[in-house]
Symmetry: C2
DNA sequence: AGCGCAGTTGCAAACGATTTGCAATCAACC
DNA sequence: GGTTGATTGCAAATCGTTTGCAACTGCGCT
C-alpha cells in the first residue's frame, strides 16, 4: 500500500470533544478508546481494525477490544463503517451532528481514498422507492478507479 | 427468509448456451459446474455459495468446488458477484454480451431483492473522475429499505 | 481518598466465509 | 479407448470477526 499524497480538507476534531461525546452517552473513557480516537483523528481515511491495531503503541490493546470499541463508537454515532472491495470493514470519524452520509472514490491499485461530496440523486432514489413500494430507502455507493499516481 | 413474490422480467438463459460460453474459453463442463448453472438459471436472485450448495441434490458436490467454480464463472464473465449487507458474496447469471452492470434494492428485513434499471448518472460519475484525476471509474451501488410486505 | 459495581478488558477459543495443498478423478482431445 | 492437464473432494489453513469468562478499572458516590 503506497503512501497517499492527497490533500485533506477536514478540520481535525479535538480529542476532548470526542471523548465528551462518549461521556455524554455514559460510556467510559478508557485507554484503548482514547487511543483509537487519537489514531482516527490523525488518519483522515477509513481505517481497518488491523490498521488501527498496528498504529497502536506496541500492541497497547487487544484486537478484540478494538472490534468491540468500533461497534460502540459506531452505535454512538462517533464513527461510520464502510466496506470497500476487500473483506475488511473500515472506519472514519464522523463530525458531530451530520448524519455522516457520504461516499468515497477508491484507487483499485494503491487504495488511496478520496471523500466525495457527490451523492446519489435524491429524486431518483425516491422514484425507485415509490415504484417498488419500498420505504426508508438508503443506499451504499462507492466509486473505484485508478488514481493519478497509479495511471502509468 | 420469506419467500419472495415479485415478478421477474428475465428471460431464462438456456443451459447449453451457458456451457457453450464455458467451452469457448476451453473450460471443462463438469457435473458440479452444470449443476451450479442449472441452479442459477432457476433462481433469478443473487444466490450465496451456501444457497447454491443447499439447492444441490443431496450434497452432490463440495462447497470448496462451488467456491472455485464461482471464481471461474466470474472470471469468464458468466456470473457477477454482489455484496449486500451481510458478509456473504452473492452471484447472479449475466446475459451474454451485456456488461451486466446493474444494481439492487434489498429489503433489510426479509432480504427480498429487486433488480433495478436505474444507475448512477454517468455525467456525474465523469465529473467525479475528472475532478479527482481518476481514470476507469466505476461504482458499486446498492439500495436498502423495507419492502411492502415488511412495512407493518 | 476511598468504595463499589457496572462497564471494560485480555485472552483464548469459537465462528462463518472463503481459500488452499494434495492426491485421486475426470472431461476433452487424440 | 488412452493420455493428460484441468478439476474435484477432503481436510486443514486462513482471515475477519465475535464471544465467554474471569480479572480489572473508570467514575459517581460517600
Amino acid at each position: 500500500m503506497k503512501p497517499c499524497a492527497h490533500k485533506h480538507t477536514h478540520q481535525r476534531q479535538e480529542l476532548p470533544a470526542l471523548t465528551e461525546r462518549l461521556r455524554r452517552q455514559s460510556r467510559k473513557i478508557t485507554g484503548p478508546r482514547a487511543a483509537i480516537l487519537e489514531i482516527l483523528r490523525h488518519h483522515p481515511h477509513p481505517l481497518t481494525t488491523k490498521e488501527i491495531f498496528s498504529e497502536m503503541p506496541k500492541g497497547e490493546c487487544d484486537l478484540a477490544t478494538i472490534y468491540r470499541s468500533m461497534h460502540l463508537l459506531e452505535k454512538t454515532g462517533i464513527v461510520k463503517r464502510f466496506h470497500f472491495h476487500d473483506g475488511a470493514a473500515r472506519f472514519e470519524l464522523m463530525e458531530e451532528g451530520s448524519d455522516g452520509h457520504h461516499h468515497h472514490l477508491v484507487c483499485t491499485e494503491c487504495a488511496e481514498v478520496v471523500k466525495l461530496e457527490e451523492c446519489f440523486p435524491a429524486e431518483i432514489e425516491q422514484k425507485i422507492a415509490k415504484k417498488n413500494g419500498f420505504k426508508a430507502v438508503t443506499h451504499k455507493l462507492e466509486f473505484f478507479g485508478l488514481c493519478p499516481e497509479c495511471q502509468r
